[in-house]
């Protein structure tokens, strides 16, 4: 399962990238955001191999809540590849859009003291531990280090997510600004897990002209990254949302399981394996795998809206 002929797959992606970007779209190169994570680093490496380093522009777009590793590791991959990279700190743009203020206001609906100097993240309960519907809570840390957890009301949940989505949308706006400026196309960097399960922001990181690794499980992206020589420090960085002011793993916020197990369950589901067959491979009981199956289906339903192109009403 999840085996990958890295050499053949890299060649296939590079060939498609040349065909789509240069011939179909008639663009001179590609722009992509570099997060310092394995997905964007792998896509950047494939782009350099396909188009040459002079046709790849990397954007480094940290903001106030980004981990300090983000800028350092995105510089690392840009330097490693020898590509031009532009640093756009988006904190001021986010400030002007009211992202931080709106986020704080939404959190104050459930934690009235929340404000300057506080940090927070959204978390979901475990899928595998019980049958309950997964509702978001906010975990906040006061300037004095006190931790508070509160279930989000509908208004607070929607408000926090809407405000936070400014981050992905402003990054995409800048990617297209630079793409327009130099007549490049924009590459998206989701892997299959993210693409399938809707782990992206519509008109934010969900937008791109080409998504070269959206067909690869995260496990396969790691294999490809290793084959392509992506720096080990990037490959060993734990996946993170890097979106909230407190560190947040992707399974706290979105996925049911760590990516390795999630890949196996998704692969099994996509290829007709039963929960009983998958359970030993991921160290769970069959009923727990069934819960993950249901979570996958629920997210796919939500993702159908995120994937939908604008609807037009043609008349015959």
């Amino acid at each position: 399962m999840l085996e990958l002929d890295c050499q053949a797959e890299a060649a296939r992606i590079e060939s498609a990238m040349k065909e789509v970007v240069l011939k179909r779209f008639k663009k001179k190169g590609v722009v992509l955001g570099l997060s310092g994570g394995v997905d964007s680093s792998t896509v950047a490496t494939l782009a350099v191999r396909a188009l040459g380093k002079d046709r790849v522009l990397g954007l480094l777009m940290p903001e106030r809540h980004s981990s300090s590793d983000t800028l350092r590791l995105s510089c690392l991959i840009a330097d490693h590849l020898g590509i031009k990279a532009i640093h756009e700190d988006i904190s001021r743009l986010l400030e002007t859009a009211g992202c931080y203020q709106r986020q704080d206001e939404a959190i104050r609906l459930v934690i009235p003291d929340y404000g300057e100097g506080w940090k927070s993240k959204l978390v979901l309960p475990s899928v595998v531990e019980g049958e309950q519907f997964r509702l978001f809570s906010v975990i906040a840390e006061s300037p004095a280090g006190e931790h508070v957890e509160a279930r989000l009301s509908l208004e607070a949940y929607l408000g926090v997510v809407a405000a936070t989505n400014f981050k992905q949308r402003i990054r995409k706006m800048l990617e297209y600004y630079h793409a327009d400026r130099v007549n490049y196309a924009v590459l998206g960097t989701p892997n299959l897990l993210e693409y399938d399960q809707g782990f992206f922001v519509k008109l934010g990181d969900g937008s791109a002209d080409l998504k070269p690794i959206a067909h690869l499980y995260k496990t396969q992206v790691y294999k490809l990254a290793g084959h392509l020589g992506v720096p080990a420090e990037i490959c060993s960085r734990p996946p993170t949302t890097d979106t909230y002011s407190m560190p947040q793993s992707q399974e706290e916020f979105y996925f049911s399981l760590p990516y390795g197990k999630m890949d196996l369950v998704l692969f099994g589901k996509n290829n007709g394996y039963s929960a009983e067959e998958i359970a030993p491979a991921v160290g769970l009981r069959a009923e727990q795998v069934e819960r993950v199956f249901r979570d996958i289906e629920g997210k796919r339903k939500m993702a159908s809206y995120l994937h939908a192109a604008p609807v037009t009403l043609t008349t015959s």
Partner: protein, 95 residues
């Protein structure tokens, strides 16, 4: 002992059904079976479930704990009404 009309079981069922029809089915719920799964039928998604929980808490003045937010308690009009009935019953006895 005096009850508000809200706490009569038939009214609870009707209120929940009316909420589901008006909020998730935009008034087109003529065929809604009270026993139908709201999730499997695609009537309610995860955000919708949060809406339903908030509605139940506010309308029937109860607090739903995380371990009570399970399909058995919430995934149909009938189940939600029965759950509300169970949750409100002790309070009525003590009143």
């Amino acid at each position: 002992m005096k009850y508000s009309d809200d706490f009569l079981p038939m009214n609870q069922t009707k209120q929940i059904r009316d909420f589901v029809i008006s909020n998730f089915m935009f008034g087109e719920g003529a065929g809604l079976n009270d026993d139908a799964s709201l999730i499997d039928r695609g009537i309610v998604d995860s955000t919708g479930m949060l809406e339903l929980i908030v509605f139940l808490e506010e309308t029937f003045r109860l607090k739903i704990d995380p371990d009570e937010m399970i399909p058995e308690n919430l995934d149909s009009v009938t189940k939600a009404a029965a759950f509300v009935s169970r949750k409100t019953a002790p309070a009525q006895v003590q009143a």
